[in-house]
Subunit: 274 residues, 2 copies
């Protein structure tokens, strides 16, 4: 049996009892390391906190390991219980869908243990989840690569009065171009997009298109470390949010559409006096 277990958003205590019981039944416990190193502070003593609570040692699996060695991980699941731990809910990222597909093709039983993810936890700001349009991703711009496919999507959402969740780029364990050319991978330091950078890029693209999909006076909500004890949530215009230091990652941003009175009342609690 392969268990894919969502850990939620905060720390080791956000696992469900069902998830914890599943882990205790497993011989091997893997954990995806793309975002977890950060979310769970695993670089310091986070991993041991998890291991202490779970009573199991955890094998960190980075993207390369999951993509290259998934057959090994999965074949263990033929004869024993194997857990694969994921920050948030198991289906936040395509990688885990791929893992499930491979497992099922190998005839392995898969059980999913759900948990909160950014996709539903953003409900805390008061904007109703059923009033969101398509989610967009904001990638880090480079000198030569400034993709703007998010622009039209935000425009469409806002034309329909819908809110837009913007997921901000995470670059973990990306090989440098130079090292790829030399045939030996050296990795860039991890980078996580801040709300400030996201707004800067959004406004640059609005400048280029000039179609008023949004602007510096558009109401937004910035989320840092959503679901953690030290989360920061601030509502304000793009211009206002750009002046705020949200602190450590992960960040995400919601661009509002048309808001209802109850939504406005909730947002008011997250505004900062000027």
């Amino acid at each position: 049996m392969l268990y894919i277990i969502g850990l939620g958003l905060g720390d080791e205590k956000d696992i469900t009892i069902r998830g914890l019981e599943a882990i205790k039944s497993c011989t091997n416990v893997y954990m995806e390391a793309y975002t977890s190193l950060l979310s769970f502070g695993l670089s310091s003593n986070g991993l041991s906190n998890l291991e202490k609570l779970y009573g199991k040692s955890i094998i960190l699996a980075d993207r390369e390991m999951v993509e290259e060695k998934s057959d090994d991980i999965l074949s263990e699941a033929h004869n024993s219980n194997v857990a694969f731990l994921v920050v948030g809910d198991p289906f936040g990222a395509t990688t885990h869908t791929d893992l499930v597909v491979r497992a099922k093709k190998m005839g392995i039983d898969v059980k999913i243990v759900h948990n909160a993810s950014v996709m539903n936890a953003i409900g805390i700001c008061g904007l109703q989840l059923y009033r969101y349009g398509e989610t967009v991703s904001i990638p880090f711009f480079t000198d030569t690569w400034r993709p703007d496919s998010f622009y039209e999507k935000i425009q469409t959402n806002r034309n329909m009065g819908l809110h837009t969740l913007c997921l901000l780029d995470i670059r973990v364990k990306e090989p440098t171009l130079e090292s790829l050319a030399r045939g030996r991978k050296i990795y860039e330091p991890p980078r996580y997009m801040t709300i400030n950078t996201a707004i800067e890029q959004l406004l640059e693209i609005e400048q280029a298109h000039q179609e008023s999909a949004y602007g510096e006076d558009t109401e937004c909500v910035g989320f840092a470390r959503l679901g953690s004890e030290d989360q920061v949530i601030v509502a304000g215009t793009m211009k206002e949010l750009q002046t705020i230091d949200f602190g450590a990652p992960l960040h995400c941003l919601v661009i509002t559409g048309k808001t209802h009175p109850l939504e406005e009342e909730m947002l008011d609690f997250y505004r900062r006096g000027t």
Copy 2:
């Protein structure tokens, strides 16, 4: 302190450790009863299962109680810890947003404990969550009331290639019209819309509009009791799903937009042979 604690989707074991610890610190524990009676089988011995695990007695709060007596519930939270338990995640329904607004206005600290909800757990079928458009609600039609505002939204989503989550009507503790006229409330038996009824209503509205927003050959995914041990998930056309008995509630339905190959591979696992 007021804790609003998501219980997740399945049974008492879907609570997080953080949520369980919060409950143990509370003097009073309320639980919203609109959907929970069902999801957690509370009519039989579900409540005692919860109470056993939590080590607390639980006060069931129906919609009337929450709307009419929330000031009493909240004033307790001034001097002690009070928990309000919610099936899924706390911000699945507007009612809880309203409770938070009232609490904050009374100067009461509010802490949210997140969990999985239908909004993110539908990811299990393999359709990527960021490829969903606006969520729609399908209400029970009556002889005189056949609202179809969902039609245009589904059409818009599908025109953009996006999937649509359809939340199906729940009617719990609705007073009968007759009893309202007599001034003494008598309640209708609870009703939960099945996938079959939802598709019947969807196709009726398509017949009326004739704009091919969708049709009986449109690929859908039906979910029954999502997140429970006995969940049923089936992918197929509207016509195919209409012949399937999904069993006990709750049901929900996803109408696909444009699917990608990896999404198709996952859906294949949920198809039934013809």
